[in-house]
Amino acid sequence: MIVRRLLALASWAADVRVLAGAAGVDRPLTTVRATLDPGDVPGAGELLVLARQLRGTDWRIDALLRRGADNGAAGLLLPEFEPLAATRSLADRLAMPLLVTTARPLDLLVEARVALAAPELDRASLLVAAHRAVGERLRQPAEVVTALRDLLRSPVALLDDRGELLAGELPSAGLVRVGEPVPQRTDLDDGVLLAHPALLPGPARPALWLVTELRGHEATRADAVPPALALAAGAVQRWLLANRLELERDARSRAALLGDLLRVDDEPGADLRRRVADAGWRLGGWHVGLRIGVPSTVDTVARTQEVLRALRAEQIDAAVVEHGDGWTGWATFDQEPTAERVRELATRLRAAHKALRRTLGAHLGVGRPHPRAAGLAATIAEAADAARLAATRPESGHFLHVDQLGMAQLLLEWTRTDTFEPAARALVAPLHEAPGDLVRTLAAYLDAESSITETAAVLGVHRNTVAARISRVEQLLGVDLSHPDDRLALHLASRAVTLGS
């Protein structure tokens, strides 16, 4: 509030005159106080009403003006009097509004007090109404948005942590600074945008934002709305927490069930079968396992829905369980699937994976089809192996399907791991220092089943050159290439090194 707003009140406008100090009418005003003591000290933001007739010549008016100016008071109101020119000049000089009235000062004071309390009352009644609308029971966030929209008579929206619209509608939703999880107020051209985050415990990242936009006449309520918005955001947060609790409980029981299932060697017992049926899983038929791995920082429980959405979008009907750093799942076929159907499944999984990778650093491994409960464990184990490899294979889009590889390739892929590759490099290191393309020659020679002629053809050099290089390799490495163990080790090493470079 400022003095100017007070002067606009009906009775003030009618009965109060600004005698001097008009430059100060924009002084901030927090309260209006009455006194009978001309020696009173007006406090900061106070408009002091001296409810007592003073002579215009009284020096104490000057002193009051000065004390008011020193303390940041809003002004001084006295019963009508004719001041000295010096007093007027002083009020002007200090920009301290000097007001006089012919009305009863205390009546004016009461009206001013009521007006000053109005925003607080508005805020309080809005808060009570908001509590009535959303506070009682647990509600879906969309319901909260609707209730708040009706209450504020302004558009309200629910945004996710990336600012994407989840419910409601809001033209200026893009202006919310989702990176700053604090209540926000942004001035618009003809209004104001208010946003309040609904936070989950743990990482200080808002899960959802409740946002409203007050335009035109409603913008004047910008100070009254934030507490109501905060209350509604609290209701959304309550829903999030309840929902999260349910998800967490659910995820835990499914993870435990999966663990039990993977541990049994033969057919599961009746009790376990009942629990599996309760979870809506099928043990009969053929299963294709899948494993989605994510970095350990990802909150898997919270994002299960996202994974399910991505799979459903590709019409993949799979059970998915939060399991370690990621999800384990499987698709079930009634009969042994044909190679065609498996390939089709793999294609859809690849598409779903691609969609997931837009928001998640996920790698996906897919197992081969295996029948029944025991087969479930087998295909999930394959999928887990494939996923581990996929994590290190950006060239395949972090996607690996065991069926496409064959077990041998899987083994070869393994040579590309961080543990093997340095060892392989160390093994063939002496060849790098010698002249001649010895590593490639060795690789080609072993690929050609030790045929000098074929090696020479592959490399496009004379067969004597190949023979000379091979004997130099044996010399440098101190190995005998007719020995099977040496051959196997060198074959893997040379493949790892040539693929790696």
Partner: protein
């Protein structure tokens, strides 16, 4: 110390400044003092026999009436004789009741007339409006007995009474007796003067006058402050003067009250002076900046002549000075007698140091 004709301008300037806007116009007294061919003798308190009888004298009432109703010349002698007759003591010396204003000069004239020395002391140290504020009242010695002699020949002896009743009695007499009268109080032994008077004030006024005159006409505020030993509160033009009847006591109207506001040329600040018979309080932009018992003197900027409260008017260019009160008055036992509240001004004293 002999005050000769050559000393008169400096002494006049000094006592006028100490009048703090009151104390009456010094011109008539200065003319009389200048006409004394042999000058006037001023003696130190210490040079007198401690048993010497010192009679305080001065003019009371509307001193401006003095210029309309001139003294006959015998009033002081009559008042002193009345006291001598009442107390049975012969006066050995005289002392001024008030160094500020014309009473700073008049006793010197009278002393020369009566062939008595004048003591270098007074009972005010500045200009004061009321008898019950004199130092002999402030220290509890009391004003009674007191004798008043007015120009048309009436003589009144107030033999006994409280200080305030003496003040009231004298005022009532003055109202019927032409506005002013010569007044003498019961004698004080010279040895007791240091305890109940402001000692050395005549010499100090002479020194002050000499220094200020030496600073020349229209001095810079800094030079004026240095010469007067005080503080320049404002250097500017009088914007507004307002006069009204003050808050009287016991149903009778009080002294005239007024305010004068000076716009400081240096920074535009508004210096408001609250006055009665003297300048009592100075507010700089509404904030108390100086008050009685310090002396607040307004001087004409060009001539340096002090401007009396009754003579200040809007439009004149002035300097406003604050001079430290005599230590006699800043003593906590006596401060209440001269602080602003003693004049009905609800402000704490604001002193120069």
């Amino acid at each position: 110390m002999r005050i000769t004709e050559a000393d008169v301008p400096a002494l006049e300037r000094g006592v006028a400044l100490l009048g703090s806007g009151g104390g009456g116009d010094t011109r008539t007294a200065a003319v009389l003092l200048r006409r004394l061919t042999g000058g006037s003798e001023v003696v130190d308190v210490s040079a007198l026999d401690p048993a010497a009888v010192v009679v305080p004298i001065g003019i009371v009432g509307a001193t401006s009436a003095l210029t309309e109703k001139l003294p006959g010349g015998a009033e002081f002698g009559t008042a002193v004789s009345a006291i001598e007759r009442w107390t049975g003591q012969r006066a050995d010396a005289l002392v001024s009741i008030e160094v500020g204003g014309l009473n700073g000069l008049m006793p010197l004239v009278v002393a020369a007339d009566l062939g008595l020395p004048c003591v270098d002391a007074d009972l005010s140290g500045r200009g004061l409006p009321r008898l019950d504020q004199l130092s002999i009242a402030a220290t509890g010695r009391g004003l009674a007995p007191a004798a008043l002699a007015e120009p048309s020949g009436q003589v009144l002896v107030l033999a006994a009474g409280t200080d305030s009743s003496i003040e009231r009695g004298a005022r009532a007499f003055l109202a019927t007796a032409g506005g002013w009268a010569a007044m003498a109080f019961g004698p004080v032994p010279a040895g007791e003067l240091p305890g109940c008077a402001v000692v050395g004030s005549v010499g100090a006024a002479l020194e002050l006058g000499r220094r200020v005159l030496a600073a020349g006409e229209g001095p810079e505020p800094g030079a004026l402050a240095a010469a007067s030993g005080g503080r320049v509160l404002a250097r500017g033009r009088v914007l507004e003067v307002s006069r009204h009847v003050g808050p009287g006591s016991h149903g009778s109207p009080g002294f005239g009250r007024g305010s004068a506001t000076v716009a400081d040329h240096r920074d535009g600040a508004l210096l408001r002076l609250e006055m009665e018979n003297e300048y009592l309080l100075a507010l700089r932009d509404g904030s108390p900046a100086a008050s009685t018992p310090d002396v607040i003197a307004v001087v004409d900027h060009r001539t340096g002549v002090p401007v009396l409260c009754e003579a200040i008017r809007s439009g004149i260019e002035v300097d406003v000075l604050q001079l430290a009160a005599a230590p006699f008055w800043t003593d906590p036992r006596r401060l209440p007698v001269l602080q602003p509240r003693a004049y009905g001004i609800d402000s704490d004293p604001v002193l120069v140091s």
